[in-house]
Symmetry: C2
Subunit: 430 residues, 2 copies
């Protein structure tokens, strides 16, 4: 029996918008948004899409009309009553009413602000300007739209069975990864793959496969919509945009040097427990930890998102010991460019020495490498970052100079202020 109404509905374009809800975003965006809403609501911020994989000429691949249609659709979305109820009533990280009533009221009325789109040299220049709490909500869905439209463009001429076999292969590949992960005792791993996922439906499939295949070792997803629908934990804490914007707002070098700690001081006031996770690499991990106030060593853990992850974890362990903390009680979250081999290696090296956890991103939700001719579905390095705040450029150094962002003179200034020495460049996979 075909359901005629469903068929007719499906004929319309909305059968699968890339982003179907304001909750189809990373949980940490909501936590950060609430923090920004309270502490820096009027900051004028510009977000900009940056394709680090310039050989992928997105503007040649993706039709501009289609892109605008998806972005315009995003601007029509509003938090639904059910979504709002879930945010207000659900327990996150063991805490009820994580989101305060004033923030929820603001969020319920949020519509994404306008976007600015141009084509230049085979790439899209996509920027978002406005009040920080509003524009920051563009980051994840904008990335997801670009990633998925690129995939659709590559797949559009494939036959029905060719497509089915393509997904069959991707499913088999993921399942084989899950079977390997199952062998790791005490594993804790979450999905961090929203932004560069192959598609929403595919991310949802991956999450469900992880639930069935890993059981309790799968700790949740960063995607709020999927967390809500699949009734699992929403995972995430904070990201580089906080120190980047706080730093850009600093008036002096002294203030600049203090900015990253100011971020965490604000965070400290709001959150405890497993939400107190340091992200140390924005302006270099080593210097950040060396200069850190003692109260930061009391935090629950650290997230390692660039550079050599084992080296960074060793740096953190040494730092905790130096500050009189027991590393075995600390959480180390690895979240940069992970795949099974790397997870096995890091788990083998650090399990027992610290509490280890993994935020598995693009190679969980978008590993179609080698599955189409010309490798047209291989993931690539697309980011959407705050590039200026109140008219001043932002800077990110990270522990991998290939990931550095910002005007050259500002990068030089930040390197001096944060006392960043020589760094080892490593290729950015995703």
């Amino acid at each position: 029996m075909a359901d005629i109404a469903t068929r007719v509905y499906n004929h319309r374009w909305k059968i699968d918008p890339v982003v179907r809800s304001l909750l189809d975003t990373d949980f940490y965006k909501l936590l950060m948004c609430q923090s920004v809403f309270r502490n820096r609501p009027d900051t004028q911020v510009t977000f900009s899409l940056i394709n680090r994989s310039t050989q992928i000429r997105l503007a040649d691949l993706i039709d501009e009309g289609e892109l605008r249609e998806q972005l315009d659709h995003l601007r029509t979305l509003r938090l639904t009553r059910g979504e709002s109820t879930w945010l207000r009533g659900n327990t996150f990280y063991g805490k009820r009413q994580m989101f305060r009533p004033d923030f929820m009221e603001w969020f319920e009325n949020l519509r994404l602000p306008p976007y600015h789109l141009e084509k230049h040299d085979g790439q899209y220049e996509l920027t978002f300007e406005g009040n920080w709490p509003e524009v920051m909500m563009w980051e994840i869905p904008a990335l997801a739209v670009l990633m998925e439209l690129r995939g659709r463009a590559v797949l559009k001429d494939m036959g029905r069975f060719e497509l089915q076999v393509l997904y069959a292969r991707a499913m088999t590949r993921l399942w084989e990864k899950i079977e390997r992960l199952r062998a790791l005792p005490g594993l804790r791993i979450a999905d961090f793959g929203t932004r560069r996922r192959h598609s929403f439906l595919w991310q949802d499939w991956c999450v469900q496969a992880m639930i069935e295949g890993l059981g309790g070792a799968f700790t949740g997803t960063s995607n709020c919509l999927i967390a809500m629908r699949r009734d699992i934990e929403a995972i995430g804490t904070n990201a580089h945009e906080l120190p980047m914007v706080y730093a850009a707002l600093a008036d002096t070098d002294a203030e600049l040097r203090e900015a990253p700690y100011r971020v965490l001081a604000d965070w400290h006031e709001e959150h405890d427990g497993n939400l107190r996770i340091i992200l140390p690499d924005t302006f270099g991990t080593k210097g950040f930890l060396d200069r850190a106030p003692d109260w930061l060593a009391g935090w629950t853990g650290i997230r390692i998102d660039s550079g050599d992850p084992a080296e960074a974890a060793e740096t953190a362990i040494a730092w905790w010991i130096a500050r009189g903390e027991d590393p075995r009680k600390k959480l180390v979250i690895f979240s940069d460019g992970l795949d099974v081999e790397k997870i096995e290696e890091l788990h083998g090296r650090f399990a027992g020495r610290v509490k280890v956890s993994f935020g598995w991103g693009t190679l969980l939700t978008n590993d179609f490498r080698g599955l189409v001719a010309g490798d047209g579905l291989a993931p690539f390095s697309l980011v959407c970052k705050a590039v200026s705040a109140n008219g001043r450029p932002t800077v990110k150094l990270s522990d991998n100079p290939s990931k550095a962002m910002g005007p050259e003179d500002e990068i030089a200034r930040y390197k001096r202020v944060f006392d960043v020495g020589a760094q080892t460049a490593s290729p950015v996979i995703v």
Copy 2:
């Protein structure tokens, strides 16, 4: 939008009966049935299920109640008006009205006769007795029921994603076979996999994948229901049951020796063109061809279904040459235990020397080898054969002694009458 009516319907058992139509059978059964209906309608024949893979204890795997339910369901099936219209109005092998009105009238009223089911030593003894045209229609659906229920038994405790990945792997495997076959110039291949298929839905998927993946090189399916639904050619000519029963009915050795030719004489009267395909191996290919009347050498081709296929094809080529025929105008259909390697090998050796065609069976529609623990889905050798006719046992020798069937003394008598010398045994894969 969930379609509630569909859901409620699906709750009931009939969501997927193993066999859903009297047309869910091989096309050659219908051709043979019409022939039997005209020439030997009153012959009392017993069909019996024989599991040549005795290590697979079907009665331990398959619940008897479930088996009876499926067999009982088969006995409720009648040809629908649309199915009848298709048989009456469609063109088969380029011929209109392949099925005569008297046969169609009989078929429209057919219900499958009763079955007899017992358990013995871990196996089911399943027999069908009655008028030949009626009981012969049990063969294919009975096999399909046993094969699919065994698969369902093996799959019943698997998780949803585990199942999906299982099928993903099977799809990928088939697609890789199709990609290899695509490289063979001038390939002609049909689906012969109904009887030992994994399931109806899976066979239907395989056929559709062949349509998309091979285009014109895929010549059709032996399955009438799928041929009708997918609007492709129904393929098939005749099988061993005709000479087996004709032979059993012979009163003297001389009549016995003539029986296989008598079958083909009847066939000659009814059919021409691509339906004139010799199946020579029932009582040994070599002797059959040596003693064959000259008019048989004028037939369109030969189907090779046991023994070493290359050797049998060489025998046929030599025979055609000896009878003054041009082998390049003759069709050789390989249909025994084929998989891609064998198809590539036979195609490479015989393409150009004869017209080559392949009837791909079990390893097209049921290659789940190695996909579950314990290899519980590997195909096995289940047949359903006419074992007696008017109270006399039937015999099959074939070109592989491992496939011989019948009482020992009768086998000896047949070997003498048909002058069958030493044969090489080879393992029966499927």
